[in-house]
């Protein structure tokens, strides 16, 4: 009886493990393929049937990639864009979320409806007016242009409002009685209580900003003001693409994100779990 129970438990465990191992292989495969391709020649990267390991390891692809793109500028622009988008999203969304959750003011519901409507509309429809604004201000090809659409975040406002709603009013009232004014209540008591939600929003914003291609491609056409994603896109030729060089460039572009992930693994996972982002 016991041994059969143990056997069926082992079989079930083995099945679960097999399922996750297959899943992991499927998830990891594109990265392994990208890594291997980055060392192949152009011809080898396109032959059928494909080779798995490069016949001769071409380190040259990496020097070609760094020669064709100003990687230092791309890293710097991407880092600045991510930094400011995260700071703006977290700070402004936190303030707006707190106001919508805990303060009473005229027109609150209408304003919040507007936030929700913005969330429901596809972001592409804002691209033209936003570009026109920047172009008229002469601010294209700047870091500000990259940050601009991320100055405020409807999703962040909604997300942090929910976090503030989860904090009992009594805590704010206790702070009020203890002598806090509205700003002190927000900064010293309420905001610190949404730290994990703020971290989640920061991760979500950073990942989204890192992967954002369309806006940086439109707004900054100077290669020295591009981000990693838009810079890499320039490696795509009209008639042919040097895939090994592109893969090498992509791998180099991944490095900062991987390093970030290694440092903030816990927050990344929490962020994905809380925001449903990826």
């Amino acid at each position: 009886m016991n041994s059969s129970l143990e056997r069926s438990r082992k079989i079930r465990t083995a099945g679960v493990y097999a399922f996750f191992i297959i899943g992991s292989v499927i998830m990891v495969f594109p990265f392994v393929w990208m890594f291997l391709t980055s060392f192949k020649t152009v011809e080898e990267s396109m032959i059928i049937p494909p080779t798995i390991l490069p016949q001769a390891w071409q380190g040259k692809n990496y020097s070609d990639a760094t020669a064709s793109l100003p990687f230092l500028s791309l890293y710097k622009n991407t880092a600045l864009m991510i930094f400011w988008r995260v700071v703006c999203a977290v700070v402004f969304s936190s303030m707006a979320g707190y106001a919508f959750a805990k303060l009473n003011f005229k027109g609150k519901n209408i304003l919040f409806s507007l936030v929700l409507i913005q969330m429901m509309l596809p972001s592409q429809i804002f691209i033209t007016p936003q570009y026109q604004m920047l172009a008229k201000l002469g601010l294209t090809n700047t870091v500000f242009a990259l940050v601009f659409p991320g100055l405020v975040s409807a999703f962040g406002t909604f997300f942090l409002r929910q976090a503030y709603l989860g904090i009992p009013d009594e805590i704010a009232e206790a702070a009020y009685l203890d002598g806090c004014n509205q700003w002190q209540t927000f900064v010293k008591v309420m905001a610190p209580l949404t730290k994990s939600s703020m971290a989640a929003l920061a991760v979500f914003t950073a990942v989204f900003a890192y992967g954002d291609l369309m806006w940086p491609l439109i707004v900054n056409t100077d290669i020295n003001m591009m981000t990693l994603s838009s810079g890499l896109a320039t490696l795509r030729g009209q008639f042919s693409t040097n895939f090994p060089v592109m893969m090498a460039g992509s791998l180099l572009a991944m490095v900062p994100m991987v390093v970030l992930y290694l440092f903030f693994q816990k927050q990344f996972i929490e962020g994905v779990a809380m925001t449903g982002g990826k």
Binding site: I171, A174, L177, D178, G179, C180, V189, L193, K195
Partner: protein, 370 residues
Amino acid sequence: MASVQLKNVCKKYPNGYEAVKDFNLDIEDKEFIIFVGPSGCGKSTTLRMIAGLEDISSGELIIDGKVVNDVEPKDRDIAMVFQSYALYPHMTVYDNMAFSLKLKKRPKDEIDRAVREAARILDLEPLLDRKPRALSGGQRQRVAMGRAIVRNPKVFLMDEPLSNLDAKLRGQMRVEISKLHQRLGATIIYVTHDQTEAMTLGTRIVVMKDGVVQQIDTPQNLYDHPCNKFVAGFIGSPQMNMITADALEENGNVVLKFAGQSIVLNAERAKALKDGGYVGQKVILGIRPEDVHSDEESLNKFPGTVFEAEVRVYEMLGASALIYFNIGETGWVASVDASTKARTGDTVRLAMDTKKIHIFDYNTEKTIVD
């Protein structure tokens, strides 16, 4: 410490709902006042108006002779203990207690002294470095008290501070609060729906219903002389037995007839009914469970109030026993001596203490005699 006065205080919400109506109360220095009443009676709203968390629609709130209707909560010199404790989860016990003094920019050593003194009083010293989530319910409750004590306020406001604790801890903390009141000599306003807390802690109790003060009196007076049927039913556990009865005059006696039973009233109660013109009218008879007896001595002592009933449920409490029975359609309970032989299904003879019978006006529900 301070005196607090509420003069014709009302709370009306924009939707027209009146939560508190014409509340008048003079609280003297060092008094322990209890607001008690069922849910939605306005007791917490009144407390929140005193705290400054709710605006006063009309009337005056006076603390230490100064009208404070428009004074900010932080400047009213009050401290509040919330039902949920409302501790700051991201701060240690020490920081929770020191927070208000830090905001006032008091010197560090003064803050430290105040926090450690409060921690010593409440036996919180070993917990000062812990976060609230690492504390038990009772410890959190003590931190909430500590946070209030540190401020050394004129008035302590407590909004059902013990209702999140289990029965045993609640009993312990009740004693602690009582000791604290004596030690600090503080003016305390305490909201509860638990009448045991109200009776044991309060120097005076304010009984409220539907936003209206029903009676303000000492615990003993509320128990012995409730001003109306609501207060009589609300104060005391198990609650007072009541039934509608006809007041009649028979052979020179005033009797109350109800559900096939008849009891003879004593001279004092008979006179009150006669003088009030209640003879021939419906009245409400009330008697506390502990004033209904089953022992032979009482049956002989109060022969005019003896009646028979069938025991529906018998509950042994150790020191006494509860006997549940029906009078007509109305459920009654008697708290009798534990040695009673009566058990479920038995027919018992019971007698009411004639001096303890309460009689209420059938229409106004006000006390006629008690």
